[in-house]
């Protein structure tokens, strides 16, 4: 099994009210010094054979991320075995 990890984040210019809500909750935890929080998604794709970065790129581009509002990065996760 080979795993490819896709990280999807809202583009910097897109408002992330969810992240803001988390940031606003931090003082209630007694945490100070945090300027901003932004929330994204991590998607793990397990291939049956070799990790196929081209296929992962296509999956991310067509389905996992909406290029209008989101950016994504792709990497192969090295197995720990």
């Amino acid at each position: 099994m080979a795993r490819v990890v896709v990280d999807v984040m809202l583009k910097p210019e897109i408002l992330d009210p969810q992240g803001q809500a988390v940031a606003n909750a931090l003082p209630r935890l007694g945490v100070a010094g945090v300027e901003a929080v932004r929330i994204g998604k991590r998607i793990e794709i397990d291939f049956t054979g070799e990790a196929d970065l081209d296929k992962a790129q296509e999956i991310a581009d067509k389905l996992l991320a909406n290029p209008v509002i989101e950016d994504f990065t792709i990497r192969v996760e090295e197995s720990e075995a």
Partner: protein, 231 residues
């Protein structure tokens, strides 16, 4: 022959029943379309209703866009068939790239459910020809992810080319950029709207009957089209 409006049901659609009733009250023949069936059964126009298609998993509309029925609807829309996306249907149209931009989480994070005043700005579409330019209409809005966003160039293009169909008046319920509530494609056959015209078609249940105008518009559009093609 009376025009037929198809209303799609995805797993998780909520407002398909109301959309059918609105089309029926406007005088259309109504056919229900199923997400897994690519056959449009000869309908003349399609409504993509509100709800939470495929559980809104990943992003609202992201998975519905790849359903068999949508493949056919995307082709038909490119060929000029009128398509109206309401709420979740608007999200599906954006995900399908039939309309620009995207719908994101409301800026205040709250689900917003209220009767909303809109100003109709584009009456040259298949779905809004029954309205007067600048007419204000009252229809319910109910969404958690209805904030319209697009890049600056897209927003400027929408404004410059008159592609904004309706804007929120008396308060923006979700933080939409430029108070956009509804947009169209340049051809005018595809319209996406975040508030719900199908919930404002009868005095008993709606704040007005303004929503009927969308459905009577498309019937008028289809009747005119039939006259042109048969003469």
């Amino acid at each position: 022959m009376t025009a037929a409006i198809g209303v799609v049901t995805f797993p998780g659609s909520l407002d398909d029943g109301d959309a059918c009733r609105a089309a029926y009250l406007a005088g259309a023949r109504v056919l229900r379309l199923w997400h897994a069936d690519p056959d449009l059964h000869g309908v003349d126009a399609v409504v993509l209703p509100g709800g939470f298609s495929y559980g809104d998993y990943l992003r609202c509309g992201a998975i519905a866009r790849f359903s068999p029925v949508m493949e056919s609807i995307i082709d038909a829309a490119k060929g000029g068939m009128p398509v109206l996306g309401i709420c979740n249907g608007f999200q599906v149209l954006c995900e399908a790239h039939l309309l620009p931009g995207a719908l994101t989480r409301n800026s205040h994070l709250h689900f917003r459910n209220r009767d909303q005043l809109l100003r109709v700005e584009s009456t040259g579409t298949a779905w809004t020809s029954s309205f007067e330019p600048g007419q204000q209409i009252l229809i319910p809005v109910k969404n958690g992810e209805g904030r319209y966003v697009a890049d600056q160039a897209t927003l400027d293009k929408l404004d410059a080319e008159g592609l904004v169909v309706a804007r929120y008046v008396d308060g923006n319920p979700n933080g939409s950029q430029r108070s956009i509530a509804a947009i169209r494609n340049p051809a005018g056959n595809v319209v996406g709207i975040m508030p719900h015209p199908e919930h404002a078609v009868e005095a008993l249940t709606g704040p007005s009957t303004d929503g009927l105008g969308f459905f009577s518009s498309v019937l008028r559009h289809l009747a005119a089209y039939e006259r042109v093609t048969t003469s």
